[in-house]
């Protein structure tokens, strides 16, 4: 049963990523991205990472996808990929390059023998993750707030209209 769920989610994730790659309209790409992020959240759930699944839906499918859709609305793109492609040769060359990359990554992952047998799944609720975040990773967690503040100030400085 869990295999069926996994393969269905995996097919959905790969299919939505392919849709993002193939559709020319960026708004379709954004919707495919939402589907992809949602399936990743479901895959987190199948790995018993409930907290991360909730954060994934809130941060990615909520905030980041909305940000993308807003940017698409502001920029009104869609005509930029219609012209003749001056770099068609290098772009086509990137396909075999990515195939080679996939082969290399698969070989690297396949060569690693993960130690130990099957373990019981680690609980990934808000209490377990919160305990790790506020003990072992307390300093990085606090630095994160500085990072978000810097991003906030940077975005406001970047989009300010010059007067």
């Amino acid at each position: 049963m869990s295999h069926v769920v996994f393969f269905a989610l995996a097919a959905l994730a790969v299919g939505s990523a392919a849709g993002l790659l193939l559709r020319r309209n960026p708004i379709h790409g954004a919707l495919f991205l939402v589907v992809n992020l949602g399936t990743i959240a479901a895959l987190f759930l199948t790995m018993r990472a409930e907290f991360l699944a909730a954060v994934q839906v809130i941060v990615y499918a909520g905030a980041i996808a909305v940000l993308f859709v807003f940017a698409i609305m502001v920029l009104i793109p869609g005509k930029d990929e219609s012209g003749p492609d001056a770099l068609r040769g290098p772009r086509l060359l990137s396909i075999p390059v990515v195939v080679v990359l996939l082969a290399l990554v698969s070989a690297a992952v396949g060569s690693v023998t993960l130690a130990g047998g099957a373990r019981p799944p680690v609980p990934g609720g808000a209490d377990a993750v919160g305990r790790v975040l506020f003990t072992d990773y307390l300093f990085p967690f606090e630095v994160t707030s500085v990072l978000l503040l810097a991003a906030l100030v940077g975005v406001m400085a970047l989009t300010r209209r010059r007067t």
């Binding site: 990523a17 790659l21 987190f44 990472a49 940000l67 502001v74 990929e81 990137s94 799944p121 990773y137």
Partner: protein, 100 residues
């Protein structure tokens, strides 16, 4: 229980699809979305390895990756909007003003 290696394999496939998107598309917004797919693939691998090793550390790392991704998207989209205001066109092929 599905073995963790399946998740890692799916993560590798998704990452390579993101690389393909970054290399082949011309719209900077779609390139950004492909980068998001790559980050998510890395998150999937982190959670899978964390489960395999029996620790919650992988999930804590994913939390930080999400924070960085949120900041990165906000700043990146602001840069794209600023470029669009200046040039009225968006194509990564034309943005070569930093080339030496």
């Amino acid at each position: 229980m599905v073995p963790e290696s399946y998740y890692v394999a799916l993560s590798a496939i998704l990452f390579c699809m993101g690389v393909l998107g970054v290399l082949t598309r011309r719209d900077p917004l779609v390139i950004f979305m492909s980068i998001e797919i790559m980050l998510n693939a890395a998150n999937l691998a982190l959670v899978a390895f964390g489960q395999r090793h029996g620790t919650t550390d992988g999930q804590a790392l994913v939390f930080f990756v999400m924070c960085v991704a949120a900041a990165e998207v906000a700043v990146g989209l602001a840069i794209i909007v600023a470029i669009f205001r200046q040039r009225r066109r968006l194509s990564v092929d034309e943005l070569s003003s930093l080339r030496g």
